[in-house]
């Protein structure tokens, strides 16, 4: 193949040694045959076409909300997922061999776990050094002899592979407890499948969908429901602060199982339950993304606030399956990897097919001797997965660092694993307008699927390829700036479906209590942001339109309203009330200052946090609007009235989009009702408080003349009023319009009516729910008797009991439906 248009643009001039394997180019820079269809389909790989594709990929990633959390990142929690346009292509023949080897390795590791957490014959026979197991914090003593349904320890396992200069793929690391990346791999395919649609067809890329169907099917086989029970599955996540939280939510949606956190689950009588708005619902299978020891503060790790007390005991009764099984993290430790070729012979009667990197534990005399002898050319890693220290490349260390390592190695050799480094292969990455070679690591996945004839092992045709951010010392870690690639295995036929098939099963079943809580607060914060924005808009409009009649009096009232709403920064408190410059400063602060707890920024941050916690229930667009709102409030506007007004309008439009999407994308079930309950309740409370406050303000002669207009404006009822009355507002009709007019969607009566209707449609919530319904009924009756004629302090007083009853309503709902998200305390 000498077509110049297809020639790879990889170059080796930038510090990548010649001695490494190039994935795309063979001898003399010639394209490897299995890359030809891709390069032909992408041709020409020129900056314009690639920039276009890059834009589309970025748009899709953003639209789907694909993010990754970098711990301690000052830029904020969520980063867009970095995805390169150029996939990694493997030949179908090579893949077949890798897949067979990976399935064998999964089978072997499963058997090793069954032994180490069972009879421990491997330890008794000396095949695995006892100190390597017993000294590993990943070995969970409490999990020994805990039954594992269908003998499936590893529902899903990942292997990190690196290809050396000789062209051989070697296993660098095993990911055995809750391997991440399958969701990202799926998302990568979704994006690249769109951007390089023709190339995917041309190459005949094998689809990923069936693999996920198999994962879901495997979960089904683990459930042991009692007669008459529907099996229930959950995906247990550490929560929105975890680095791969996006993936947890994504997989939950994709597999059709609810995303939960530890506090959503409870163990009663050795059985695991999910707290839902309809009470406790038994859980049969937990797909976990929580590390082993965090899963249970009672028996595993007492300081874990993320787990479920009693989960180990529940697993011991056999009434719940945990996938992967508790304790599987043990095999992520490098210390016993050395023994695997021998164990393959002992346990499977087969040679180990997939080569692994040359790693050995320094805890034995021989291992330490070899490590000391070859010290200069080695890499040292922590022997146990619980130790998160970075690998140390001896050649890169300063003198004092070398000495420290050497001393540590001599005093506590058992903590180290030595490794002969693998010079990783490179694959072309589109960077700065051209293809540049970068070192890659390929993570592949195997699922275990129990069947009548034992466990079938199945590899995902593809994987998650990650590349080093720069040349030089290749460090491949998403936490340290690496990027990802789609991974293509040909052989799927020309009409391969690029869309991943959605696994069957829905999020059906009762709504988890925490989600109900999250949705309720999502509604409240969204509405709260609306209220603040309308107040700030009132100020900004008057700052821009300085000629407005009564403008000064209105600004005076608005400024006091801002102070009442805790929106007036303390440092401006002594300044003149209506000085435009100071007002602008205050509006600016109320918009952007995260330190003002009731300001727009802080409220939108809370909104975004609520949204994260219910993310698997939100349509991607809805999530994106919330994330945009949060980001917009973080970018400070210029300090001019018109710039401020423009920013406020942008946020108001975003809020409107949010309302629209809530209406359009959420099924009319309990989830929607709780969200709307949050909005209605917040609006009702704000409206009552506003009427009370302005009624009292009306007694001030300076404010009196403008109060009614402001009330209609801030109550968002001005245009409705004009439509009805076509006249300047008068007290009686205006108050009636705001409070008791059922046709005004902003009126108090409307909110109460909607709340009553929603409560009636919720599942029974016991005495607290009945009390909530009674409260609303009483409120509506009281409101019906209210005849608002005056706007003064006396009228404000008469509304007091209603305001108090509304505040009580929120607590009643919490008691009736939301699990108190308390974390257990250790005693």
């Amino acid at each position: 193949m000498t077509d110049p248009g297809l020639a790879p643009a990889s170059d080796t001039a930038e510090g990548v040694a010649d001695a490494v394997w190039d994935e795309m180019a063979g001898g003399q820079g010639r394209l490897r045959p299995h890359w030809t269809p891709l390069m032909r389909a992408m041709s020409p790989v020129d900056p314009d076409r690639m920039a276009e594709r890059g834009d589309e990929a970025r748009r899709l990633i953003r639209q789907n909300g694909v993010t990754y959390n970098v711990y301690g990142d000052p830029l904020g929690l969520e980063r867009p997922w970095p995805l390169d346009l150029m996939p990694l292509v493997l030949s179908a023949e090579e893949w077949a061999e890798l897949a067979t080897g990976a399935c064998q390795r999964a089978r072997l590791l499963n058997a090793v776990l069954a032994d180490l957490y069972g009879p421990q014959t491997l330890i008794d026979a000396g095949a695995v050094p006892a100190p390597a197991v017993f000294g590993d914090p990943g070995y969970l003593r409490a999990c020994r002899n805990v039954p594992v349904p269908r003998g499936l320890w590893l529902h899903l396992v990942g292997f990190d592979l690196g290809r050396g200069p000789d062209g051989t793929w070697r296993v660098l690391a095993d990911r055995t407890q809750a391997p991440s990346g399958t969701g990202y791999a799926l998302e990568n395919r979704l994006v690249i499948g769109r951007v390089l649609r023709d190339a995917v067809r041309g190459v005949g890329v094998q689809p990923l969908g069936p693999f996920f169907q198999a994962l879901r099917d495997a979960l089904e086989t683990l459930a042991r429901p009692d007669p008459g029970e529907e099996p229930r599955f959950v995906l247990l996540s550490p929560g929105p602060f975890n680095e791969t939280y996006f993936e947890h939510a994504y997989l939950a949606r994709h597999l059709g199982i609810p995303l939960v956190e530890g506090a959503d689950l409870t163990v009663r009588g050795g059985t695991l339950y999910l707290k839902t708005i309809e009470g406790l619902a038994r859980v049969h299978v937990v797909l976990r993304r929580l590390d082993d020891d965090f899963c249970d503060p009672l028996e595993l790790r007492p300081d874990s606030a993320l787990g479920v007390p009693g989960l180990t005991a529940a697993a011991r009764t056999g009434r719940v399956a945990v996938a992967n099984a508790l304790g599987t993290g043990l095999l992520e430790s490098a210390a016993i990897k050395r023994a695997l070729p021998d164990l393959a012979g002992r346990l499977l009667g087969e040679p180990l097919r997939l080569p692994q990197s040359d790693q050995w534990w320094c805890g034995t005399r021989a291992g330490l001797g070899r490590a000391l002898a070859g010290f200069d050319g080695l890499v040292f890693r922590p022997a146990f997965a619980a130790d998160r220290s970075n690998p140390l490349v001896v050649a890169d260390l300063t003198r004092p660092e070398r000495e420290r390592l050497m001393a540590g190695l001599r005093s506590e050799p058992r903590r180290f694993v030595a490794e002969t480094p693998v010079a990783l292969s490179t694959s072309p990455v589109w960077i700065d307008g051209r293809l540049q070679p970068r070192a890659i690591v390929l993570r592949i996945y195997v699922a275990g699927i129990p069947g009548p004839e034992g466990i079938a092992w199945r590899a995902m045709p593809g994987g998650l390829t990650r590349f080093a951010p720069d040349t030089g010392r290749p460090v491949v870690s998403m936490q340290r700036g690496s990027g990802s690639k789609d991974t293509w295995i040909p052989g799927g036929g020309a009409h391969a479906d690029t869309r991943p098939a959605r696994a069957r099963g829905g999020l059906g079943g009762a709504l988890p209590s925490r989600l109900a809580d999250g949705l309720f607060w999502l509604g409240r914060y969204a509405e709260r942001a609306d209220n603040v924005l309308s107040l700030l808009r009132g100020v900004a409009v008057r700052l821009v339109d300085v000629e407005r009649p009564w403008g000064d009096a209105e600004l005076l009232v608005l400024r006091r309203l801002m102070a009442w709403q805790n929106l007036w920064p303390a440092e401006l408190s002594t300044l003149p009330d209506t000085d435009g410059r100071h007002l602008a400063k205050a509006v600016h602060a109320a918009l952007h200052e995260p330190g003002l707890p009731d300001g727009v920024r802080a409220t939108l941050q809370r909104l975004a946090r609520c949204a994260s916690s219910v993310r698997d229930r939100l349509a991607p667009d809805l999530w994106r609007v919330i994330s945009d709102l949060e980001q917009t409030s973080g970018q400070r506007a210029r300090l001019s009235p018109s710039a401020l007004l423009e920013r406020i309008e942008t946020l108001v439009l975003g809020q409107a989009a949010l309302v629209g999407l809530e209406e359009e994308t959420i099924l009319r079930g309990p989830a929607w009702r709780f969200l709307r309950l949050g909005r209605w309740l917040e609006r009702a409370q704000f409206l009552l408080a506003l009427v009370q406050w302005l009624a009292r303000a009306a007694e001030d002669p300076e404010a009196g003349p403008v109060v009614l207009d402001l009330l209609l404006e801030l109550g968002e009822s001005a245009s409705g009023y004009r439509e009805r009355f076509a006249a300047a507002p008068e007290r009686g009709p205006a108050l009636a319009h705001l409070l008791i007019e059922e046709s005004n969607p902003r009126s108090l009566a409307f909110q109460l009516g909607e709340i009553a209707r929603a409560l009636a449609q919720l599942p029974p919530g016991g005495p607290a729910a009945e009390a909530a319904a009674a409260t609303i009924a009483a409120l509506r009756e009281d409101l019906g008797r209210t005849v608002p004629m005056t706007l003064d302090a006396t009228f404000a007083e008469t509304l007091g009991p209603m305001a108090a009853a509304l505040r009580g309503l929120s607590d009643l709902l919490t008691r009736a439906y939301f699990s108190p998200a308390v974390v257990g305390q250790a005693v």
Binding site: D124, G135, T266, R268, A826
Partner: protein
């Protein structure tokens, strides 16, 4: 020495400021029978009654009871009554001078080539409460001159801890790290046991944590021992084929007929008499009362 039969009462009471909605507990309050002691009868009363209870045996042979209480409660009482005989010997290690040199034991534990050392090696390795034993190495070293029998080294260590550390129940809590105990040189039996174990492990030999009881009233003419009115704890050292030598650093004595064993683990975390995770409860108080009476007294 002759066998002594004890009647033991161990009362644990949690009191909570606000009701606990759900409680899960794991208790190690069931003593083992073995060559050293015979359990004639054991009885456990739990109030309020648990909704669920299950026994499990851990890898060290201890019986743990898991229990959950699902009804709201402001007080939990666990009362145990035991009838136990402690036998003299067969303590193969009564003569510490006849144990192997500590280096020999250390080297054997490192690769654990035989069944005996494989069973013991877990006790030479880091554990939950003592994740990095090396902090004790400087303190431990003077007790470990080259070639010294491991039993003698451990006796010397227990003696030094007893001399250097003050018994002070106000200085520590159940969760005070051994590092702090070593720095401040004060604490209670649990702390001294942990320091001793960390010292042993820092030298590469195996140390175990023994939770148990001490005879409350001394025999006539003998002084009352520290730690006698609460649960007690001491430490053991592995002496190769000679087995375990258990020493009580709090009282600078070998564990003998005054010591009743409740559970054995790598540290307190493995065998804590009671621990739990509760929902609700607010502030809580814990009262423990232990009474260990010889039957014939």
């Amino acid at each position: 020495m002759i066998a002594v039969r004890y009647r033991i009462r161990h009362l644990t009471r949690y009191e909570y400021a606000v009701p606990v909605a759900l409680a899960h507990h794991l208790v190690h309050l069931w003593p083992p029978s073995g060559p050293r002691q015979t359990v004639h009868a054991a009885e456990m009363r739990i109030d309020p009654a648990p909704a669920w209870m299950e026994e499990r045996t851990d890898g060290f042979g201890n019986v743990g009871r898991l229990l959950s209480i699902e009804a709201p409660h402001t007080q939990l009482e666990i009362a145990v009554a035991l009838d136990v005989t402690v036998h003299p010997g067969p303590d193969a290690t009564r003569d510490p001078a006849r144990t192997p040199a500590w280096e020999t034991v250390r080297d054997r534990l490192r690769e654990a080539p035989d069944a005996g050392s494989r069973a013991a090696c877990a006790f030479a390795l880091p554990s939950t409460v003592i994740p990095e034993p090396a902090f004790c190495a400087d303190y431990a070293r003077p007790s470990f001159p080259p070639g010294r029998p491991v039993g003698e080294a451990a006796r010397d260590l227990a003696h030094r801890i007893h001399a250097d550390f003050a018994f002070d129940a106000a200085a520590t809590t159940v969760s005070t790290p051994p590092e702090t105990v070593l720095r401040d040189r004060r604490g209670v039996c649990q702390d001294f046991a942990h320091v001793m174990i960390a010292c042993l492990r820092s030298m590469g030999v195996a140390g175990r944590y023994v939770s148990g009881y001490l005879r409350t009233r001394p025999p006539p003419g003998q002084p009352r021992l520290a730690g006698a009115d609460a649960s007690h704890a001491w430490a053991g050292v592995w002496c190769g084929d000679a087995g375990w030598l258990d020493l009580d650093p709090t009282n600078d004595m070998p564990a003998g007929p005054d010591h009743v064993v409740l559970a054995i683990g790598r540290d307190y975390h493995d065998v804590s008499p009671t621990r739990g995770v509760i929902l609700g409860g607010g502030r809580h108080g814990l009262t423990i009362a232990v009474d260990v009476e010889p039957c014939d007294a």
